[in-house]
């Protein structure tokens, strides 16, 4: 089907591209960073030594980043770092310069002596950066050169996280630098065992799972993004409901604007909290379907619990709320494919082509039926 065309093959060869100016120039990271505890003298210069314990400040930053705050500038300087007192025979581990990944990496290396070669992924984690190619062969070769690693260590081995493999070709790294890439485990929690076992990974260490714990961590970012998209819609309903409904603005906004705004909110919560939480249990393979089912369930629960407040409304108006919830929850559920660990690009394309017309229809029909109900009132 997709035979690799000649120029596609070439694109993988790092040296076929023009080398950017300044690439490979000797550079070690600054020691003036919060996590640097000391220095290690080497034949080429002073390498910053990092601590392996996270401070309260580090943990506080992680917490904020998980809520999508300060995510854009959460980086460390790329380059070579030392953990413990490494020497010419010590292992070299490759990582990304997203500070969260960096912190968890040094934490996992407590009590060891090794080198860290941190690539400039522009503050993005290894996996996403590998997908984009910023964690890749070229950057690794540049960083190797810039750090003069060949003069610092006597062996020729690099340990690269397995999730970096989409961006990097082990045989090319070997060909251009002489360094052999050994792929380490997917999860940092397996790293100590991998290192203790003489760099042997069990099959389980090579599989990307998607346990509840990992899905929960993703919820805040998803929720913030959902709110960002949904709040304008909620304000729209409150505003138009208040203006077009009968009586005072506030009263009309409360009667006609609040229920659809709540329906949107239910959609947001369903798509960004319930869908990740109950992902394997929600029926259907399509995430849009999972999201819609989560939305329907929460909608029914919520409006059943508040039925005493809603019995004065027409069917049309109630149906309009349901359509809004379904549109929003299905859309945001589908957006969670971006964070999931097992959805493919072609799968997502196929899902989008099928689901987006329905989501769009549901949204438009929801708004229209709400508007008609408002006029009839």
């Amino acid at each position: 089907m997709n035979a690799p065309s000649a120029d596609k093959g070439m694109a993988f060869l790092p040296m076929a591209k023009k080398v950017p100016t300044g690439a490979g120039e000797f550079k070690l990271p600054s020691i003036d960073q919060s996590f640097v505890q000391g220095t290690v003298a080497t034949s080429v210069g002073t390498v910053p030594q990092v601590g392996t314990e996270l401070t309260r400040q580090d943990k506080h930053e992680h917490y904020l980043v998980r809520w999508n705050i300060g995510r854009d500038h959460f980086t460390v300087e790329p380059g070579l770092y030392a953990v413990g007192r490494p020497d010419a025979g010590s292992l070299v581990l490759v990582g990304a310069n997203y500070k969260m990944s960096f912190d968890l990496l040094r934490q996992a290396l407590a009590g060891r002596d090794c080198w860290l070669l941190i690539l400039n992924t522009k503050g993005i984690n290894v996996w996403c950066a590998a997908g984009k190619g910023t964690f890749g062969t070229e950057e690794l070769l540049d960083r190797l050169q810039a750090s003069r690693l060949d003069a610092i260590v006597s062996h020729r081995q690099l340990i690269v996280p397995q999730l970096g493999a989409p961006g990097l070709a082990a045989h090319e790294v070997k060909k251009y630098s002489g360094f052999r890439v050994t792929y380490g485990p997917i999860s940092l929690k397996d790293l100590p065992e991998f290192l203790d076992n003489g760099l042997q990974a069990t099959p389980g260490m090579r599989r990307k799972t998607f346990p509840l714990r990992e899905r929960i961590v993703l919820i805040p970012v998803e929720l913030m993004q959902g709110l960002k998209q949904g709040i304008p819609l909620m304000l729209f309903f409150l505003l138009i409901g208040g203006l077009a409904g009968r009586g005072h603005f506030a009263g009309a906004a409360l009667i006609h604007g609040l229920p659809p705004a709540l329906a949107v909110l239910i959609g947001i919560i369903s798509g960004t909290v319930l869908t990740p939480l109950f992902l394997p249990r929600l029926p259907g393979r399509a995430f849009s379907c999972k999201g819609a089912i989560a939305g329907f369930s929460l909608f029914v629960l919520f409006f059943a619990a508040t039925s005493s407040l809603t019995h004065g409304y027409s069917y049309l108006e109630q149906v309009s709320w349901l359509l809004l919830t379904l549109a929003v929850s299905s859309w945001l559920g589908m957006a969670f494919t971006g964070a999931s660990t097992f959805t493919s690009l072609n799968g997502v394309k196929k899902e989008m082509l099928r689901a987006m017309p329905l989501q769009f229809f549901s949204l438009v029909a929801g708004i229209l039926s709400w508007a008609i109900a408002l006029r009839m009132y």
Binding site: A130, P166, R206, R207, F342, S344, L345, N346
Partner: protein, 90 residues
């Protein structure tokens, strides 16, 4: 990973057994156990539908025996692609 499955038969992963030199790297880098080495020292696709098109196998295959339309499976990315803009995915 049986608990997590996406669609069947949509992935673009193709494997040419004749080119394979049996280095085994595809089996190592794949996060979903799609490849396994057989007794005759060739790779084999044992779970093609589990593929998430990350491209790790293709990128690391020294024999160019694997092709896959690799990309980030995310809604933002697909929309950006449809609109022809360069945009971040994650």
């Amino acid at each position: 990973m049986e608990r997590f499955r996406y669609f069947e038969d949509v992935v673009s992963l193709e494997f040419d057994k004749d080119k394979c030199i049996g280095c085994g790297l595809c089996a190592i880098v794949c996060p979903h156990g799609v490849f396994a080495l057989t007794r005759d020292h060739k790779a084999q696709m044992t779970a093609r539908n589990q593929c998430m098109e990350c491209g790790a196998c293709m990128r690391n295959c020294p024999a160019l025996a694997i092709t896959v339309e690799a990309g980030e499976g995310c809604v933002r990315g697909v929309i950006n692609e449809l609109l022809g803009i360069e945009g971040p995915c994650c």
